[in-house]
Amino acid sequence: MVLFIEKIPEKDVALDSFGCHWQTTLESLLARGRSAGADFVEIFLENVDHLGLLAEQDSITSVSPSFGKGAGIRVFLGKRDGFVSTNDLSANGLSEALDKALGMLSLQVQDSSLFSFEGLGDLTDFSTQKKLWLENCPKLKEATQTILLATDLLDKKGKHLQARRGSYSRIWQEVLVAASDGTFSKDIRLHQSIGVNVLAADREFRSSIGRRYGSSDRPNDLREWDPDLSTREVCESADKMLYADYVEAGQLPAVLANKFGGVIFHEACGHLLETTQIERGTTPFSEKIDHQIANTAVTAIDEGSTDGAFGSLSMDDEGMKPQKTILIKNGVLKSFLSDRAGELRTGHPRTGSGRRQSHTFAAASRMRNTYIAPGKYNPEDLISSIDNGLYCKSMGGGSVGPTGQFNFAVEEGYLIKNGELSKPVKGATLIGEAKEIMPRISMCANDLDLAAGYCGSVSGNINVTVGQPHIKVDSITVGGR
């Protein structure tokens, strides 16, 4: 069936949920885009229901629900693309947005055209089992009670606490992707995260510790969360770090703990394996497929399918099922993370990694659940192999610069002396370059675990998982005082 341009149908567009009733409207828009000469047209529709809660000390201080709808329309001509986002989901609003995207590429709708559009396929609906997710999430009363319980537990378990905070965020997102290659897919996503933070202060000593827990697709996540365990961990860390000395700067061997320790791989290497970095010419690994880029101890994976993990997806934001991508195997680079534009511009096949914060961003190749695979050692083996070094029990955030230099704040650190953990230290930053550090990861323990986080990059802030077992880096620059 070849579709012809006609007036974009208005009916049904205002219905609350996305689905097959959008098909005629979307097909007309896609046909219109193709008739103008676009090689490819993609429409991303989004409906979001968000709830944010903040408890401070013993009060709920902020309840902030928000709702929104919008569309992102992307048009490709050769390797170029134009992208327009709009809040206006009326037929006219979408049509106008499409025309603007076409105009960016100097394309205009023609009365007759050689370019055809064969129509959308059947709707691939990943949301069929998810219709009741939003309804099944904790209501405001239940959520506020749980978060207040957490701040109360912080008070009971903590010492010298000057500020206690608990937060909860629930994002329900319904998305629909329609594209001129026939892609027609729908999904519902649910992401919940819980944060606990404390600031301990005694005279001139201060320590601030935070933890975030996150899940995808689990309406009962807040109910199943263990506030007792989480608050105990945070209070213990704050207590240990309160009187810690500042670390002395220098080159040291380091052991990075599992879970959020994986942020080092995420920032230092993961970003350099996204095709957006090849496009920019900012990765040193662009010509290194099948080359040794890391120590043979390192195998690294990115996937979107771990049950309940914060970065898991049923489909990416371009309608593709996420794949399990082996990035590095025994130190050898095997694959890049690619989206539609990445495939077009770099030749690396799509991996179901096209992601975006919202309809206001075009999708880009991004990480999902990224981790270093477990090795054969016990964590203690790594520590006992070091005479004088640093144990990074908990990492803060980090970032990577345009020439591949990375840095990470160490939230909770301990010196290693003669193969054993010694006194706590604060103020440490790990600094280096991926291509220099990856060969120095010489030991991986057998205790892989994952942690939830947020990643900000070219297509906005997205939820991801980082992870690793305990790993040993033979030598790294530690910034301190």
Partner: protein, 459 residues
């Protein structure tokens, strides 16, 4: 995308009518609303070819309601349809049932006060094809400035029209309409057997035609080339000179020191009684000057409708004022300062910092000058990774930076290093503030000298 996004006068009347209708269902007598609408266009290029062209048309509304117990609820939406607005009013009402009885915001006592006059004429939007051509030319010019500059991996030009309103149930009615344009060029240079180096420049203006494009190209090129030859630096304590950009970045990261919200919440380094107390070297002064003519993104009112202003924060090394929302001002017994967002618990944030010498040091001669000092010092051009390397509530920082080691008048780039310290010590160890103030895209400041800062290098 050349047209104004929305007729805001029409929208104001429309929202006012609809709000009065919807809130009556919940017996809500007090409410306020902030709405924004914008159109933006932006482009990025790669070696003369448009890489991505982007446009957006956005609108959103934030609604606050006070229920009959005086508790506040808030919600926001981008769906301005009747159904969207009704859903939002309902959401705000529901949220108000969980409002904080210990601290409820009220309307700002200044929400109907006269607004400062800002000279920000609306500029013509050129359209995406025109700004694309400008960027292609700028990229080409930058590439041609030096043979080692191989690409400009991070670049972009954008123009936008931004409109905002604030209305409330007691008749406050604020609106503004701004245009803004930006250009950023971050070049990458590489020489044989050396690490790639990168640096760049940013310019803001009211419209694309006012952007200092040549200046941006020149600065990006000069900075990038200046880092081509580099040396490792040994780990030690150094005399450091911060460029205006760098010191503004550092002070902004610790702005919770002057933020009344953070003080009340116990996460600031300052306390309620810190006003009048010494916090820095006596030569240092700091203002937050939302109204400075070079503040391109200036607005005349904050999220609560309070007029913005130029306010002194530190004078002669002592804290003079905190920044306030309505609620924090009421708690301190002062007037709101025009720094609030809109919320059940309104956030407070600075506008545009102005660093300078305090009054009594204004005309004293410089002991140190980054252009001709004979001292050995580190010149910090820009700080990186502020989001992860700053512990604002502890006062500590450990930040990678781009900069140079200056020795015997010779300037050479530092390969890779971090600077670490405590912000209170930094403020107290300021040994010189140069005479010449320089306008940056995020504020205004002279070069500022600090003694004894820890720098970690790889040498």
């Amino acid at each position: 995308m050349n047209s104004l996004p929305i007729d805001m006068n029409k929208l104001t009347v429309n929202l006012l009518d609809r709000m009065n209708k919807y809130v009556s269902k919940y017996s809500i007598k007090q409410w306020d609303l902030g709405a924004t609408a914008s159109t933006d266009s932006s482009v990025q290029v790669d070696h003369g070819i448009a890489k991505q062209l982007k446009g957006s048309q956005r609108s959103s509304v934030t609604i606050r309601v006070w229920n009959n117990q005086g508790l506040v609820g808030i919600t926001s939406t981008s769906d301005l349809s009747d159904a969207g607005l009704q859903k939002s009013v309902h959401g705000a009402y529901e949220a108000s049932l969980f409002g904080n009885p210990n601290e409820s915001p009220q309307f700002s006592e200044l929400c109907k006060a006269p607004l400062p006059k800002l000279e920000r004429p609306l500029k013509k939007l050129l359209g995406i094809q025109n700004i694309l051509e400008i960027l292609i030319e700028a990229e080409s010019s930058l590439l041609s400035t030096h043979k080692s500059i191989s690409s400009v991996p991070y670049n972009g030009i954008s123009e936008s029209n931004y409109q905002r309103i604030y209305i409330n149930s007691e008749g406050a009615n604020r609106s503004l309409n701004n245009t803004q344009a930006s250009l950023y060029l971050y070049a990458r240079a590489e020489e044989l057997r050396k690490k790639p180096r990168s640096s760049g420049s940013v310019r803001l203006a009211l419209g694309v035609e006012d952007l200092d494009i040549d200046g941006c190209i020149l600065e990006a090129s000069k900075r990038t080339i200046s880092h081509l030859n580099y040396i490792p630096i040994r780990t030690d304590k150094y005399l450091v000179c911060f460029t205006p950009e760098a010191i503004l970045e550092l002070i902004s990261s610790f702005s919770s020191m002057f933020n009344a919200r953070a003080v009340i919440d116990g996460v600031s380094l300052s306390e309620r009684d810190s006003i009048g107390k010494k916090i820095s070297s006596p030569i240092f002064s700091l203002c937050d000057n939302a109204l400075h003519p070079s503040n391109i993104g200036a607005t005349s009112f904050d999220g609560e409708g309070t007029p913005t202003q130029n306010i002194t924060i530190i004078e002669s090394g002592r804290i003079k004022n905190f920044l306030h929302s309505e609620a924090t001002a009421r708690s301190f017994g002062v007037k709101p300062t025009g720094h609030a967002g809109m919320g059940a618990k309104a956030s407070v944030s600075p506008d545009w910092f102005e660093i300078g010498r305090s009054k009594e040091h204004k005309n004293k001669t410089n002991n140190l000058n980054h252009r001709n000092s004979n001292e050995e010092f580190v010149l910090i051009e820009s700080l990186n990774a502020l989001h992860s390397g700053v512990k604002a509530s502890q006062g500590s920082f450990s930040l990678p930076f781009d900069g140079w080691l200056v020795r015997n008048g010779e300037t050479i780039s530092i390969e890779a290093a971090t600077v670490a310290g405590d912000i209170i010590q930094v403020l107290n160890n300021i040994v010189e503030i140069e005479m010449d103030s320089i306008v940056t895209h995020s504020g205004i400041s002279p070069h500022v000298w600090v003694d004894g800062l820890s720098i970690t290098g790889e040498a």
